[in-house]
Symmetry: C2
Subunit: 410 residues, 2 copies
């Protein structure tokens, strides 16, 4: 039951249209996991700070806590002198407070005594008995982090959709969040095509290809917090394909048909997706190269997303990377966020482009330049050497050596 | 039994010296795993291509196989005509070969008939009965990938140390390598410091810090193919630390002491590492900020690497990222390979640097610029927002907005 199908639309419009048509956050697939076990998965909800952080005014240095005004005007040639009131004990609130003209020895992480508003570093002072000679003015707040300065109780620490990894696990641990709510989005991978054989196949008959796409997709999905489910290779007939797809949709939230948009299977696939419940087929073809025959469909009520990806390993990867990942994230969080880091770099050699279509090529970084890698055959070797992909927007034609191009780094 | 200890040396010299002193590939910790289960681990050996790939000359397009010379001079206004000899069946060797003036219908992935050396695409031809009108010249090899063109039998497909991920799993699958030999390097994480409490701790006493480093390190290690083993928090005394370290070395190939180079524990740590078996302590202090108090030590005969990392989460992360990762890779493979991608970008605001020391700051990418992120307190928030780290080499001082800096992207 296809509604309005967009034919050969540009990539961003395709993502926006599909995300708007299928704007469901996947429900009921959340679990609470120890940070260790949550690793690599994405946060199912916004994580709020349970308390002010840091919970106390803290020194960030070894030095002396003081009242900043007492140091004003102090210099090497004109030092100021303060009375040492005591030493701040580690892991305890100091029992004293500071009055004008007083200071206290403090260690990194130590709790600031009441009255103090700055810390002067050890190298800028000299202690003589109970007197401290100060040879530098310090500003209010210097070498201190105030209570709640990093975040205050109730603030969003990390938003939904962020992956638990080396960048985020430290924030969670520091805030005392030792269990994180994570999402389990199951993505089924169905390989199609009579020429495709399992990767275990020892020797190939002429014209056969081992199923590299399933592994590339599984790895890519896992890296971005999804749970891949390999559903095997299905023969190239409408009946088999339809049966396999419906079975896959029972088990999975998303189904990616790899090779499902190749010449021979494209028609079957398109017909089957057109007959899905609403909204059914949404996008037939995207103005990108490679990746043009990509199909997007879904069932809103059942919260299913189905995509037909090209058969060529680089094309298949590219459609998953530049269409599926942003789309699934947008459907789930409402925000379009790119999984890549975009930089602009000079290109090392000519890249032949055509206006009217967004074009992609794997590329390596070498000496600050983007080196395009050839993807001649139907193989994944170029991907193995790539640091990211080089993008020519639809308005760009051939690019000469030294001209700048957009590079999307993994 | 410390040999020659390098004091406060530059980062690259420290890595090279330690790698040369501890040049062991870790032995006896290899297993063979299905690609799925190998995900995220690193290859224990060079992977050789078991066969030529592709195993046959293949078409990369739908079109007609022909002898390129027959098309020379053909154009829109001056087409050439060929006899259609037949159709190449999918997944079978064609039963015929081509002679001068002949061509054959072929599909993407089809095996080239003997005699043919190029494929012309469908859009450049018109078929009339048994005749093919050719409106474009094609070159020898056009739209074909030759047997062994991607790699020949016995060539190194992927070198030891490469991680099994979306970039490499496709190559392995395509080559029929469904099980990969992967390495298990166990890295023990020992947190030290009396102010450090487990991240589960609900409310902090003044001056206490939750152990964020253990999670940051675990995540970072896992991401780079190591197997982290969290060994808990050890109290800040020489006896306890030594006991914990020796126990850790029994179980693990590497031990990272987090916080083990803070002011209070630094001396204990340094003393303990000096007394290890040869070569013992190798590097005491690295000319980098943060990360200066980093220690490197090891026992060659027992194949153990031990490092003391700073206590501040960003410093701890940075020493692990810029010292441990390249060092462990170099010890294991003999090659110094950076885990980051280096680009040169203009900086969005001033960065205060000092000559004589290599300096690092987390930074985000925004509109093609490197935006330095403040790391004021002892916390990991900046890391959560970072796309990479900004590096000022030891010869650079303060950098003004718009000036270019080196950025190491994750």
């Amino acid at each position: 039951m296809a509604g309005f199908v967009r034919e050969l639309t540009d990539r961003m419009s395709a993502i926006e249209y599909a995300a708007a048509s299928l704007s469901f956050p996947w429900q009921g697939n959340e679990s609470s996991r120890d940070l260790d076990a949550a690793e690599g998965l994405t946060l199912a909800r916004d994580i709020l700070a349970p308390e002010d952080f840091p919970p106390f005014d803290r020194s960030t240095r070894d030095g002396y806590a003081l009242i900043s005004e007492d140091s004003y005007g102090a210099s090497q040639s004109n030092p100021a002198f303060l009375t040492i009131r005591g030493e701040v004990p580690m892991a305890a609130v100091p029992s004293f407070s500071l009055s004008e003209g007083e200071c206290a020895l403090i260690h990194t992480g130590g709790v600031l005594p009441a009255g103090a508003d700055a810390v002067i570093m050890l190298e800028n002072v000299e202690r003589t008995g109970n007197w401290l000679e100060i040879r530098k003015a310090v500003q209010k707040g210097e070498n201190i982090v105030f209570r709640g300065e990093e975040f205050s109780a109730g603030a969003i620490l990390l938003p939904k959709g962020v992956q638990v990894d080396f960048k985020s696990s430290g924030v969670l641990a520091a805030a005392g969040i030792s269990k994180a709510p994570v999402q389990h989005v199951k993505v089924g991978i169905l390989s199609t095509g009579d020429e495709i054989v399992p990767c275990e196949t020892r020797s190939l008959n002429p014209g056969q290809f081992r199923d590299a796409n399933a592994n590339i997709l599984s790895s890519l999905l896992r890296r971005h917090g999804y749970e891949p489910v390999y559903l095997g290779i299905v023969e190239d007939s409408k009946v088999s394909l339809e049966k396999a797809l419906y079975r896959a949709m029972e088990e999975c939230d998303v189904v990616l048909l790899s090779g499902g948009s190749s010449v021979s299977t494209r028609d079957h696939c398109s017909t089957i997706l057109e007959s899905l419940e609403a909204p059914g087929l949404l996008v037939r073809g995207i103005l990108m190269s490679p990746g043009k025959p990509t199909l997007i469909a879904g069932i809103k009520e059942k919260q299913k997303l189905v995509m037909g990806l090209p058969g060529h390993p680089f094309s298949c990867f590219l459609a998953a990377y530049t269409v599926f990942l942003p789309l699934a994230h947008a459907m789930n969080t409402g925000a379009i966020v790119s999984p890549w880091r975009s930089v602009v770099l000079p290109v090392s050699e000519s890249v032949f482009g055509h206006s009217g279509i967004e074009e992609f090529l794997p590329c390596a970084l070498r000496d600050g330049k983007a080196v395009p890698l050839p993807v001649k055959s139907s193989f994944a070797k170029a991907l193995g050497q790539a640091d990211g992909i080089l993008r020519l927007s639809s308005s760009r034609e051939t690019v000469r050596p030294g001209e700048e191009v957009e590079v999307w780094l993994w």
